[in-house]
């Protein structure tokens, strides 16, 4: 750009960035590598990336009373099967999908009509409502966690799916984002729809929703990533009931249940939880980076 590009300069820049990339990628490399290695290889740091994959004895399997020849496994098989057996990983993942998708759908159902009204309808008190949205944008989620927890406990809703979903049903940020987007939609489009005899409800869902797809996509990425990765809120409202745990919370439980040296299965579980988002990210990088930075203010 403004730095003159010489071969030496280019070489220098690449070496700096490569050094940074090595540090950034180190935990991902370790996670994948350890999820494939035997305990001995992990302890001595040998075996390269994939490990030697020598057949090993599954001690726990022997302890239960199985004959030893039935308990011989490749380390990678041992780690991943142990991860799925020790922790209800599938359940955690399904919980994660259910919670994040529910949150996003409810957020859209609440936010889209409100954003439409704030941008395209003229009514008494509109500015007051918009002022309220702006005010609520200032409230950080961590600051309302404790009172929300008390309110949920009072109505007996802790340790339910509702506790994981309901507090996020309103996204003032979503309202703000959609409103900004709808401001750019020409009024003629809506007038034409009214002329055709469409009700305001069908205008929201049949005219506005399709035009809002790009903004919704960005908001969706932001919302799903934030709630899939969220650990704080599930930690507060879910206590002990493994059936309700989301992936990060389940992983945390796995870590505290683990008896110290089960690093292989632990890293296998971590891989299973981290990988889906990472793969989707790598497939749709540009959209993800746009979505998360565009919505980065929250």
């Amino acid at each position: 750009m403004y730095i003159q590009t010489s071969w030496l300069g280019e070489f220098f820049k690449h070496s700096l960035l490569l050094a940074g990339a090595v540090v950034v990628l180190l935990p991902f490399y370790l996670m994948l590598s350890y999820s494939m290695k035997s305990p001995a290889e992990i302890e001595t740091n040998t075996g390269g990336f994939f490990g030697a994959q020598q057949i090993m004895t599954d001690n726990r399997c022997v302890k239960v009373g199985n004959p030893e020849e039935d308990c011989l496994k490749r380390p990678i098989v041992y780690n991943y099967t142990a991860a799925f057996k020790e922790a209800p990983l599938v359940r955690y993942m399904l919980n994660g999908v259910f919670v994040t998708v529910s949150i996003f759908i409810i957020q859209v159902i609440i936010a889209l009509p409100c954003a439409y009204a704030l941008s395209k309808l003229r009514f008494w008190g509109r500015n007051v409502v918009f002022g309220m949205v702006i005010f609520c944008l200032l409230i950080p989620v961590h600051a309302i966690a404790l009172p929300l927890y008390i309110m949920l406990a009072k109505v007996g809703l802790t340790n339910t799916y509702a506790a994981l979903i309901v507090p996020w049903s309103i996204s003032v940020f979503g309202i703000f984002l959609m409103r900004q987007f709808f401001m750019t939609v020409p009024d003629d489009l809506i007038d034409a729809a009214r002329m055709d005899g469409m009700s305001e409800f069908s205008i929201v869902w049949q005219v506005m929703l399709p035009t809002a797809v790009p903004a919704l996509l960005a908001f969706g990425i932001f919302s799903v990533v934030a709630h899939w990765n969220d650990y704080y809120w599930p930690r507060v409202v879910i206590t002990g009931n493994k059936d309700l745990m989301t992936p990060p919370l389940g992983l945390r439980m796995f870590k505290s249940d683990m008896d110290g040296n089960e690093y292989g299965p632990m890293m296998a579980a971590t891989t299973v939880i981290v990988l889906p988002l990472v793969i989707i990210f790598l497939l749709a990088q540009r959209r993800f980076i746009e979505g998360i930075t565009m919505t980065g203010m929250k």
Binding site: I139, I144, I170
Partner: protein
């Protein structure tokens, strides 16, 4: 419009939920911070400012403020500088920019709690790779000479690296001198890619003509043009990136809860963790609410500073 009542149905649910789930909780927290409320008790007593008094006089809470502020002061400058640095490098590359961008953004996307567990393992003093790598440099004279400063004529045993080679490498998360710094390192690792993307967006909005104009005015070196054009033109981005990073680092929780639980000896006892421990674990909701309110005030101050600078249209 007036002819339709549809807007009631459109904004009604949103207003209701905002009042119930966002505004009411703030009011509740403010009220409870003046009480000794606990879940399960039938009533509570109004105790006025007592919780706040404790917050500002007790040693464990002064440790809390120290931990939070130190964390913010470590993470914000370093992650902003790294974000800006990598954005400048990447935007000036001929090839490969997109690849680095994706790599540096990866930690922003990945589940922080999971990656924190991997870091904990990498930093394990006995089997962890970090100390293994550091140790392996001790008997390679090139690396040892460079890192311990003996090349420059210093006494290698005086340096951090030299003495660590002689004795042992730190316990990282288990040592109260290093724990907060280690948590901050994970925070920086996670956050700087986000700042980088914001700076990359900021850089594309700098008009190219300005660089040519600066060059004509005699700004020959890249550094002079950076000082003259890039840095000031990034004014609004700086404000945004710094406030966002500060607010985010005030909210650090996942790494602390999973790796140190506030220890050793409260060296990583950051605010949100304290709030969780007091309010949820120990059921001291009055105290937890007082911490909540102080936290809220910190964040509001940061936001107002941001609004102030944005309205002044910071372009120096």
């Amino acid at each position: 419009m007036g002819r339709s009542k549809a807007h009631y149905w459109f904004v009604g649910p949103a207003i209701l939920l905002m009042l119930l789930l966002l505004i009411a909780p703030v009011v509740v927290a403010a009220a409870l911070s003046m009480t000794d409320y606990s879940l399960g008790n039938s009533g509570f007593n109004w105790i006025g400012w007592e919780n706040y008094e404790k917050l500002f006089t007790r040693r464990s809470y002064s440790k809390m403020f120290t931990a939070s502020l130190t964390y913010v002061l470590l993470v914000v400058p370093i992650s902003v500088a790294l974000g800006l640095g990598s954005a400048l490098l990447i935007s000036s590359l001929r090839i490969g920019g997109e690849l680095y961008k994706a790599i540096f953004f990866l930690p922003v996307m990945a589940t922080l709690l999971a990656m924190a567990i991997v870091w904990e393992f990498a930093l394990n003093p006995i089997v962890g790779v970090v100390n293994d790598i550091l140790r392996s440099g001790c008997d390679k004279s090139v690396i040892y000479g460079f890192l311990s400063g003996s090349w420059l004529g210093y006494d290698p045993l005086e340096s951090w690296y030299g003495s660590a080679c002689e004795k042992k490498f730190p316990l990282w998360l288990g040592d109260r001198k290093y724990a907060l710094g280690t948590i901050a390192f994970i925070g920086i690792w996670q956050a700087f890619g986000f700042n980088m993307v914001l700076y990359l967006a900021g850089l594309t909005s700098v008009p190219r003509e300005l660089y040519q104009a600066a060059q004509m005015d005699g700004a020959d070196s890249a550094w002079e043009r950076f000082k003259l054009v890039t840095w000031p033109m990034l004014g609004p981005t700086h404000v945004f990136v710094i406030t966002i990073s500060s607010i985010r680092s005030f909210q650090v929780f996942d790494t602390v809860e999973a790796l140190t639980e506030g220890g050793p000896s409260k060296s990583t006892y950051v605010m949100i963790y304290a709030m969780f421990e007091k309010g949820v674990r120990q059921n001291l909701l009055g105290m937890g609410s007082a911490i909540t309110i102080v936290f809220l005030i910190f964040v509001l101050i940061l936001t107002l500073v941001q609004v102030y600078f944005v309205n002044r249209k910071v372009h120096y």
